[in-house]
Symmetry: C2
């Protein structure tokens, strides 16, 4: 059955390592069901609580999901590549030679991609106000796009903030549902704002409970998030905050050096 436990290794990590090795070597493949907890209690001379703790480790590593009444399954992980340049500069993506090592079939509406869109006027608040260098009570137009892949599973959400006075009485005050949207710098150019600089910060963290709920993020899955700040003459004219479910997305940046 299972190898003897290395001296000093906690039992629950023994269980986790044993199963992780079998997931790594494809004994269990994405979608496969792992042995049930009682079955694992036959494999290991451990208590059920110990088995469960080992499974919790793998769940928090994003390798498995548990479904009550059904079993424990190996997570699937095909990813969508979001190209940074085409999101920032132009609508046309210019993919470099794709990396065969990444399993990233391009996705589009035909593959079940759907988009949900809402917008509202909100008060900036402390943090956003500071980022805009505006009073916290200033009004911002907040435009939210959520991307769903295959039904109710979300993979990406982006919120764009623009100072409301900047776009009031312009077409931007009533954003359209269309997708893809023109790049933000072009939209702003249409209302007379010339974006000179874009600054992007990309980070990774665990989701907040709200994000977990909204985007239906499974336990143990981080988010890839970014903030883009659009500057016109050192003035911040737009900020977008995006959150992607980390096991669903990849950010791409292709540079042609010629």
């Amino acid at each position: 059955m299972s190898n003897p436990r290395p001296r000093g290794l906690p039992k629950y990590l023994h269980v986790a390592d044993y199963l992780r090795a079998q997931i790594d070597d494809s004994t269990y493949q994405p979608g496969d069901r792992l042995p049930t907890e009682p079955e694992l209690m036959d494999t290991f001379p451990y208590d059920r609580a110990t088995i469960r703790r080992g499974l919790a480790v793998l769940r928090n590593e994003g390798l498995i999901t548990s479904e009550q009444g059904r079993g424990v399954f190996v997570r699937d992980a095909t990813k969508t590549r979001y190209d940074l340049m085409s999101m920032l500069i132009t609508d046309r993506s210019h993919p470099a030679k794709p990396d065969a090592a990444y399993n990233q079939p391009p996705r589009g509406p035909d593959d079940g991609l759907s988009i949900e869109h809402t917008y509202e006027v909100v008060a900036a608040g402390e943090k956003l106000g500071a980022a805009f260098e505006l009073d916290p009570r200033s009004e911002l137009l907040a435009s939210t796009y959520t991307f769903f892949i295959s039904g109710d599973t979300a993979e990406y959400r982006t919120v764009a903030y623009v100072p409301y006075p900047l776009v009031i009485d312009t077409p931007l005050a009533t954003p359209s549902d269309d997708w893809p949207q023109p790049p933000i710098k072009d939209q702003l150019a249409g209302v007379g704002v010339k974006v000179t600089t874009v600054a992007v910060d990309i980070e990774s963290r665990m989701p907040t409970p709200q994000e977990s709920f909204d985007l239906q993020i499974p336990d143990g899955t981080p988010v890839l998030s970014d903030r883009r700040r659009f500057l016109a003459d050192d003035r911040v004219v737009c900020i977008t905050d995006s959150v992607g479910v980390a096991d669903r997305i990849v950010y791409g940046l292709d540079l042609n050096l010629q």
Copy 2:
């Protein structure tokens, strides 16, 4: 003490929500010690196992760390910004207006940043071989840089792979310990390889056990990882794999549109 538990909410989430709210509103600040488990058992009419499970939730969200014999502490989170462009194209960074909302003091050698460097010749193996479109038995020169911040805490590691035949008998075959290194495209130009395209893939995931050990990554912290592929006339001439501890780093990309 604690608010009554909303109907239907598991007790352990009650504990987690209660403490998370206090971390969010700065009742407990980074570095502060949370109440001990026995103290929380006085606050809540729950069993110690239930309290501990609530703490585990916050640990897996990256909000706290536990230290045996000492207590539970709110995680600190000052981040270093790694500029993608300056890493790819030139040695000079050209920062845009920094975002005040991000607390990212720039770091350098003066702040305790130190670098460790090793290199070796390895067999490509299945996956890397496929990425290079080379035989899995091909030899690659692997050059590893690890960045440590304040002593033994690592924050970033990058491994650069180059087909060994490409650099054998050149200065690149014996990489120097210097830092910063010239950009890879310049290094390759020095041995007659003209890089035409760079493709970057950025993703986020939970660390492997090996990475957790090597980089001393605390529980519940994801990694921000990227793969850069350097192409010369559609031929892959270099691949770098980088891994950053997510609560220590931010990737930056600043574009001047003028």
